[in-house]
Symmetry: C2
Subunit: 80 residues, 2 copies
DNA sequence: GCCCATTTGTACGTATGTATG
DNA sequence: GCATACATACGTACAAATGGG
């Protein structure tokens, strides 16, 4: 599911996107040690810029929910 | 003293700038509860983009060394 | 080893919004 | 109203790492 984001709302787009992805992780739609959609895919899926995508992913990285690997992708964090 | 950054070196500009500012804070050249130079000033002083300046400041914020206050400035963290 | 596509990382430019003074 | 300053968000380009052919 790609719930639309609301550019008009008070919540920044990056925060909205982070929340969407966080929910998918918590719900198990995105599984541990499996890749999150690429930045390009997320851009196209949600109609936002890469800056916004990367800001959202940064939030999730800081929460320890995902791990980015250069040249490969961004993965849902595993057990450790 | 505005040590030049090295765009050719292996260390990212934002990391170099963060290190310069961190050193100034630790050395007391930038004092607690006093403002760090503005993003614009840092851009001009070091000849880097706003993104680079903001990235450097974000690093310092995450380290708890500075606190950004919207509409005012970025301040060296105080004791409490 | 080399080229190429993909993906994340870094860097810069610009515009607009929001808050303070 | 205006200037300053941080926050968000759009765009572009190139570098670096990975993996397939």
């Amino acid at each position: 599911m790609a719930a639309d984001l609301d550019p008009e709302g008070p919540v920044p787009l990056y925060a909205q996107l982070a929340e969407v992805l966080r929910a998918q992780i918590v719900a198990g739609e995105l599984q541990p040690n499996r890749p999150v959609p690429s930045e390009l895919t997320l851009q196209q899926t949600y109609g936002v810029s890469r800056d916004t995508v990367r800001h959202a992913l940064r939030v999730l990285r800081e929460e320890g929910l995902v791990v980015a690997v250069r040249g490969k992708g961004t993965y849902v964090a595993g057990q450790g």
